[in-house]
Symmetry: C2
Subunit: 328 residues, 2 copies
Amino acid sequence: MTAVDSRARDPVDDATLALLLEVAGTPKPGNVDRRRDLDDLRFESFLGGAVGARDGLELAASDEGSVGDAFERGVAGMADRAGTNTQFGCLLLLVPLLRATVVGSPAGDVSPSGDLDPDAVDRVTRETTVGDAVAFYRAFERVDVAVADPPADAAELDVRHGSDAAPALRDRELTLRDVMAVSAAPDDPDRVPDRNAQEWVEGFPRTFRAAEWIRADEGPLTDRAARAFLGLLAAEPDTLVAASHDPETAREASARAAALLGGADDGGSTGPLDPSDVDADAVHGADLDAAEALATAFVDEGINPGTTADLTCAALYVALRRGAEVAR
Amino acid sequence: MTAVDSRARDPVDDATLALLLEVAGTPKPGNVDRRRDLDDLRFESFLGGAVGARDGLELAASDEGSVGDAFERGVAGMADRAGTNTQFGCLLLLVPLLRATVVGSPAGDVSPSGDLDPDAVDRVTRETTVGDAVAFYRAFERVDVAVADPPADAAELDVRHGSDAAPALRDRELTLRDVMAVSAAPDDPDRVPDRNAQEWVEGFPRTFRAAEWIRADEGPLTDRAARAFLGLLAAEPDTLVAASHDPETAREASARAAALLGGADDGGSTGPLDPSDVDADAVHGADLDAAEALATAFVDEGINPGTTADLTCAALYVALRRGAEVAR
């Protein structure tokens, strides 16, 4: 068999594989993974959702349709197959990454020299329109998504309004990137920002950093994904945990993840590591056996770091584009 | 959400989901499943293989390319991603089923009235050519596939010859269906026939029977797939077990599976049930807890009923076309 240039591979296939490897990665404490279902969410729903999202992913990797339309179609297909929200946040990150992968190339093709980098995806998010924002809001009508309340001065922009928010979006001329900027910088400094929204406005720094953790790691990709998940969670409190519990619970969850990293101080830590302390060595030294116990504890406590799983999925996609391969 | 007409769904998505649900279905004694890797075969390789097979599945569901070309492309894409043989036999069954799904429809579309039935898939296999047979042989050059020796008078048709067998195939004017007919009816009556080849020449009776077991069953599809696997294995000795051990081991493995079915006599059984004794009630009553122990035992003994897994995958595809849905 000849060596494969990973850039020649279909980016839609890579995105689908990232969705599948994300949910298979184990242990990812608090989330559905290869070894765990949640009471109201099953592994097989994720398989259905990943397959159902295909049309939206293909739209994202073409020059037809906007980023917002591609996202809405992906969510609709996911929800149709899965019957529930499985990977809404993953799709929110994958869609601009896919578009950035094919930017500057003929429709649907990948430029052989078209490296996927933070600048490319930043250009994609900067080019989003008010129409993309409206499509994003429509996507919330397809499935139930756990979200926090919007800032007081943005009540009419609550995503739970769905398409009813369209007049307000048009009135304020808010693009999808503008909408993300609001969620990325909450007015209350104690509040945990929306990490996915931060990725959108900051050039996907978490995604690209964790992609390098995965690419430079060894062993099966499902293990590497689990270690990257722990690194991401250790670095910053999870948005979904904060929204469904409170910021303090989210900070504690990150501290518990940090204690499992290589070289981490596992006694007396009261908060997450400084993000700059979570490096590749710490991530590659993560103790997945100890993470099994944390997975059991998080499920028992109802702690579900779902946003960290989204970031892990996006990182898997970038790692696949950069040559990571499933274990042989 | 409105009800979905499953026939309006993309058959390629259904085939991909069948590949994923097959490997996720657990316990499937002796095979890789959601809870088990084998020493030389990992779950994540199957995820890669299912994604990589996409191009071949799309070719099968179009009116371009022959059935043989679609199969070869599917195997090549699977092997490229997985780096090994994950679901060769599944693809051998899915490709004609996909072609039958779209027969009589415009390219790539599904006729709203186009029910997938044994007659449709039988027509597809009858229309295969010598070129399809040559492509089938070429596919064996892509991956290592465990096969039994051919009959003595067909040594030059050993699939392990790959494309070197092309002159013999052309000389004897053997279509792909003809090749399957040889494997389906071994000259030695003690030998276990190739079940996949039998499906090809008999109109897929095992596939359609097990599809109805799955469709009429309850609970998650991964559980239904596991029960259907036990039913198929109980009904007939597995080809791969016979090839890698011997026919007697294959018969014993089937008897051990039969003992786990509902209403089965679990004492003193020395051979597989008569196929006609394995009905939907017996399959739906299969004891999956007891099957966990059998899964451990089969792995320890190196018993891998891979052909039965292929049939389970094909049955999942037909069940999805007929409206089966992932658990909600």
